[in-house]
């Protein structure tokens, strides 16, 4: 039987947080938000580059499963998650999470669904270049549609059905 040691280490951070001075929560959140706002232009540039990279990568698949393409597309989508919300385009984050889910399911099952990938990339482009990036009923409908597409591959039996329907 292996031994287990349980102890309570000193957490210096707790003491530092309580030291006099500092900043009220409301001011800190506001200042952090203003800091993120200053990154807006950079974030938008980064998203345009991400979209271009994702489209080029997906085109390389030629409609068939390719492990390298699937891994690369997953890496591109997952690396960009978090950037859209920082520039006020939270719905694009939801689309990227859906694309990362989809590519993770596809590469795990070694299958490819070019239509499912393409619809995500088209939605990404639409949300980035139109006001659809802001929350609206139309945006919600797009995101719900993407979620349904990616979740078709969440379970093995569902993936087999979705693949035969796509093919």
């Amino acid at each position: 039987m292996s031994s287990v040691k349980i102890h309570v280490p000193v957490v210096r951070l707790a003491k530092l947080l309580r030291t006099p001075g500092g900043v009220p929560v409301a001011d800190a959140v506001k200042r952090a938000g203003a800091g993120l706002e200053s990154l807006r232009a950079e974030c938008l540039d980064e998203l345009r580059v991400t979209l271009d990279q994702a489209e080029l990568c997906a085109n390389r698949a030629n409609g068939e499963y390719d492990a390298a393409v699937a891994d690369e597309l997953y890496a591109i989508a997952s690396a960009a998650i978090g950037v859209p919300t920082a520039c006020g385009l939270a719905p694009i984050d939801t689309a990227l999470v859906s694309l990362a889910d989809l590519t993770d399911y596809l590469r795990t099952r070694k299958i490819w669904d070019p239509n499912a990938v393409a619809v995500h990339l088209r939605a990404f482009r639409l949300l980035l270049h139109t006001e659809a990036g802001k929350d609206s009923n139309g945006t919600k409908a797009i995101l719900e549609g993407l979620r349904r597409v990616s979740q078709r591959y969440a379970k093995p039996e569902a993936a087999a059905d979705a693949k035969s329907a796509a093919g």
Binding site: S2, S3, V4, K5, I6, H7, V8, P9, V10, V11, R12, L13, A14, L16, L17, R18, T19, P20, G21, G22, V23, P24, V25, A26, A28, V29, K30, R31, A32, G33, A34, G35, L36, S38, L39, E42, C43, E46, D71, Y74, A75, A77, S78, A79, A80, I81, G82, V83, P84, T85, A86, A90, D93, L96, V97, A100, D101, D104, T108
Partner: protein, 207 residues
């Protein structure tokens, strides 16, 4: 920090104060935009001592050189090198850094990395996108004193059993301190465990 709730659910309008000025914070993030986002959030919170690392090697070098109060580490892509970094940190025996609160961030956790994320020894795994209020909630939460640290062959990190929701309904508890007896129907919502813990914990008060 009187007024700051111990549990998550911090109000963004709260006037409660906290001080991160002297906290030494390591940020591990390979993406330059991800790094900029974290730096903006943490400097907005008043943090002034930020150590930035773009790779695990850089972060390991900093762990060996600098005393840290908080680590914010990204999972670092599909390979999850960030999880491996946290495991290394816990096993490094570089005190006190090996016990430092760690907030792990991840854009997406692939199915094959979930176990790694759970077992790496981070205090909290936070899914991106990050917003200032959620990051602050997690920082205040992981900084709480009194959390037990577990060291064994298969795991080294904070005790993951931080919730005590009691014995499952219809079962008999196996712990010595499990209570038995019939309990009446609840007449109002349950108190949060953190609120109960807060009532039992000795605190300094200003009169």
């Amino acid at each position: 920090m009187p007024g700051v709730k111990d549990s998550m659910g911090l109000s963004p309008d709260s006037r409660a104060r906290f001080n991160l000025e002297r906290a030494s914070v390591l940020i591990l993030e390979e993406s330059s935009m991800g790094m900029s986002i974290l730096v903006q959030i943490l400097t907005g919170f008043g943090a002034k001592v930020l150590h930035r690392a773009e790779s695990v090697e850089e972060a390991q070098g900093l762990v060996a050189k600098v005393e840290l109060d908080l680590v914010v580490a990204d999972a670092l892509g599909p390979g999850g090198e960030g999880y491996d970094f946290v495991s290394w940190l816990r096993r490094s025996r570089i005190e006190p850094n090996c016990f430092v609160p760690v907030l792990l961030t991840a854009g997406h956790t692939p199915g094959n990395a979930v176990q790694k994320a759970r077992d790496c020894g981070a205090h909290f795994v936070m899914t991106k996108p990050l917003t200032p209020i959620t990051v602050l909630e997690r920082v205040l939460w992981i900084a709480r004193e009194g959390r037990r640290f577990v060291e064994c062959d298969s795991y080294m990190g904070p005790d993951r059993r931080f919730k005590n929701e009691g014995v499952p309904a219809g079962q008999v508890g196996r712990r010595r301190d499990d209570l038995v007896g019939d309990v009446g129907e609840a007449s109002e919502p349950n108190m949060e465990q953190d609120s109960i813990d807060g009532m039992l914990k000795t605190r300094r008060v200003t009169l």
